[in-house]
Amino acid sequence: MKLVLNVNGAARALELEDRTSLLDALRDGVGLKGTHAGCEHGVCGTCTVLLDGDAVRSCLLLAAQAEGHAVTTIEGVTPGPGELSIVQDSFVETHGMQCGYCTPGMVLTAGALLRDNPKPTRDEIVEAISGNLCRCTGYGQIVEAIALAAERLQRSNTP
C-alpha cells in the first residue's frame, strides 16, 4: 500500500503493508524513533502522538487512518537541534522523567492539555495524564513540570 503521511509538517510518501500501525509507520517507515512502543494495546500511552493537535495512541491507529491528518511527533515539537520548547524545558527543570521512555508521550499529552486549558488545576493535570503511564516517577515531578510549563506559557509571548 502506498500512502502519504503528513508528519511534522512534511509530506512523507511511504510504501507499507496494509496492516501497519501508525506507530510502526513512524518508527520504521519515517524513521522517527522518538515515538516509543509500550503495551501496543492502547493502555499505557507511551506511543502518544498528536493527530490534528489531539493526543492519540499511535499503536491503535493504522497508518492508513492517519492519511489526510497532521501527525505531530516529539521531534515535531522540538524547536531545533539542541533546543527545547517551553513544555520540554519545564520537564527538564523539574526532572519530570527518569528513564525517558514515556517522556515523549507525556510531553505531547501535556502540550495538548495546555493548548486547550492554559491554566489547569492540579486535578486537571492529573486527569489529563491519567492515560499515560509512567513507571519511574510516581508522576509527582511530571505534574510539577506541567504546572510550571503552564505558568511559563502564561508569561511568554510564544504559544
Binding site: 516509543h36 522540538t78 523539574t94 528513564c99 525517558g100 503511564l133 513507571r135 510516581g138 508522576y139 515531578q141
Partner: protein, 793 residues
Amino acid sequence: MTVQLQPPFRYVGHKRRVREDRRFVAGGGHFAADLVLAGMLHCAPVQSEHPAAIIVSIDASAALALPGVRAVLTGAQLAAASEPLMNGAHTPLVVRYPLAVGQVRYAGEWVAMVVAESRALAEDARELVRVEYEQLPFVTDGEAAMAEDAPLVHPPHGSNVLLDRHFVWGPVAERFAAAPHKLAYRVRWARSSTVPLETFAVTAQWDASQDVLDVWASIQMPKFPDQIARSLRLPGNAVRVHYDVDVGGSYGVKRGIKHAVLVGHLARVLGRPVRLVEDRLENMTGGDMQGPERVFDVELAFGGDGRVHAMKMRALDNVGAYAGRSPFQLGKPIGAIVGPYAIEAVEYHALAVASNKTPQEAVRGFGQAPTNYALETGIDKVAAALGLDRLEVRQRNFIRADQFPYLIPSGTTYDSGNYVGLLEKTVAVADLFAERDALRAQGLLAGVGIASCLEPSGGNSSFEPLLNPANRTTTWMESCRIHVDALGGITAAMHTTTSGQAHETLVSVAVAEVLEIPPERIRVIRPDSLASLPSNSPVGSRMAIMLGGAAVRAAQKLRAQLLAIAAHDMDVPQHLLRYSEGDVQAPDGRKLAWQELVVIAHREYFRLPPGMEPGLSASSIYMVPTGGALPKDDKVQMYPCHSFEFHYILVAMDKVLCRPQIRRYIIGHDCGQVISPDVVKGMTLGGIAHGIGAALLEEFSIDAQTGQPTAASFMDYLLPSSHEVPLVEIVHQVTPSPLTVFGQKGSGESGYLGSPAAIAGAINDALAPHGVRVDQLPMRPALLSDLLEGTNA
C-alpha cells in the same frame, strides 16, 4: 578505608538539572529497539500453551516455507550449541536454556524462535509452527509444590525445593521461653513485578572477520558479557556489549540473559544481525520478569512494654519454573532482617520452591519489600495485642542514634541512623489520627498506616556465599576512568548501562566536586564492555555509593597527579601547594593554571616529574567499603549502608465498593548526604508509586485449574496511573554514613520498601473497628468488600 569529603560542598547536594533529561525530553534517547542495522532479521517466539508438557515434536516446515522466513530455532538445536544459563543456588540438575528443551515447565515458555525479514512476518510464521505436546501434571502453588506427591518441575532434581536454609542467630529459644507475650501470624505477598514500559529488547551482530559478537540490549545485569560468552562458548573478549544503550526502565528485572544468548547464537549461525523485541504479551508471560511471591509465617516474642525480644520467620518463595538468581532474593533481606529494631535473636527459614509458573527475576529491593511488609505487620500486631500506640511501639523498639554502628544478630553492622528523630519530624507534619477520626465521623472507613523500614544499599554479593557455600564470590566493585584531553577537556567513563537513575549526572557531580570544576564541563561516556573496567551494574541500590565512590577516587588520583606536576615544575614541596578550581598555586603566589598543567602533561615531557607517565588520566576500581569477607558461623556483613524511611499515611474507603484512596502520604526519608536532590526525590516518589501497585493493584494471577496466566496485559495487570498516586509530602533528614565518600547512602529503592507495608497497615486500621483484617497483598476492593460483608460496617 574511604576518606570522606566534608561539607560544605560545591556541587553535591545542590539543585542541578539532570543532564540525561535533555535528550529524553526531545525524543533523543537511544533505546535498544531504536537501533537499525543493515540486513537485520526479526524474531518472534513460539510459546508453550501448557504449564507442563513433554515436547513430542516440533514441525516448522510450513513456517519455513513462508517467503521471508529465515530460520526456526528449537530448544534442542540451541542446547546442542550452547551451555546452560547460570544458576545462583546450588541446583546443578535444574538446567535452563533460553528455549525449552524436551519439556515445557510453564505456560508461555519459549519453545522455538522464528526468525524472518520482518517482525510481522515472524509473527505470521509462528502461527504455522506445529508443536505436539504430551501434557503432564503441574503445580502452581508454592506450598502445594512442596508436598510429597507434587508433580516435579525438574524431575532430575528430585524435589521442587531449590533452596532450604535454616538460620538461628542469637538465643531464640531462650527468648521465646522467657517472653511474657507471643504471637504468630501469616502474611502473603502476591507475585508482582516492576513491569517497565519498555519491554526487553536486544540486537546482536556477529563480525566473522574479527570474531566478535556485538550486543545492544536493554539490560541491568551484573556480569552480562561474561555470561553471554560462557553460554555461547566464546572467549570473554569476543563479546562486546554496548553500554551506551538507554534502558527504558528496569528496577531490577532487565536481566535478559536468555534473550541475549538466543539472539547472539542466531546472529552467529545466520550471519546477519538479529533483533528480538518482546511485545507486551511475550514480556509478561515468557519474558521471565516476574517478582517474588511469598508466604511468611512469623512468630514474635515480646514484653508487656511492646519490646520485641525475638523473631522466628519462615519465608516461602514460589520462584517459578527455573532457579536463576531468584533464590538469592531470600538472602539479601538477611542484612536487615530486624529492620530498624533492636531485636536480639532471630530464626530465619528460607525456602525457594519451583512451580509451573514463569520464572522469577530480581525486583527492586531484591526481596526486602516483602520482608519489610512481614515485619511491619508484626509490629502493628504487637501494638494491637497490648493496646499500645503503634508509633510508641516503634519508638520503643528502634535502635537508638547513640547505638551506631550497630551489629544485628545476622552479622551485618548498620552504619548510621537516627530513627526516632525522623519519626518525630514526620509525625509533626500532621495529626493523621485526628484526620482519620474526622473521616470516620463522615461515615467513611479510614485508617492511618505506619511503616519504618531500612533500605540496605551499596550492594555486594554476600548473600551468594551465605546461601551457597560453593560460591565464593565476594568481590563486588564499580569503576570509573577519567581522561583529560590535550585541550583540557575532561571525560569520565562509567562502565555499565543506565536505566533512568541519572548516573551520568552522578559521575559529573562527583568528579566536579573533587576537581572543583563545574559538572557541565565534564563529559560522561559509557564505552562498550571491551573498553570498560569491571562493573557490577546498578543493582542493590549501589550506584550513588559505588559509582560515586569510584568517580571520587579517580578524580582524587587525577588531582594528585596535577599537584605532583606542579610541585616538580615550581620546585615547591607538594604539601605547600594549594589546589583550587583546576589551578595550583604556590605559597609565593606563583600559579600554574589548568591549561598550563594540561600542556605540561600532554606536550612538555621535559617538565614532567621523572618517571611520571605523560597525559592526564586516572581510574578507580572501587570495592564495597565494608570489604569482602566470607560468611562465618552463618553470619555475614551484607550491604554497607542503611537508609531509613518512615511512612505515615492516611487511607479512606467507602463502605460499599471499598476502593482505597490515599488521602495523605507523608514520608520521612534519610539517605545520608544527598548528591542530586531531584533524582532522590524522583526515586522516592516513583518507589512509593510502585509500592502502591504492589499493595493495591498488581498481581500476576494464574488460573489454578489450567495453569494459565490470567493477567498478561495492561488490561488485567493494572499499573498505578496518576489517579492512584497521591501528592506525596517528603520530610528530609540527613544522617551521613561514615563509610562513603560524601556520607551518602542509597536511594534507588526508597519508597517501595515501605509503602506496601504502610498501605496494608492503613487498610487494617480502617477495618479494625469492624473486627476484620487482611494479611495479603494486593488488597483489592473485591477482597475488602467481601470481608466487610456481614460485619457491622
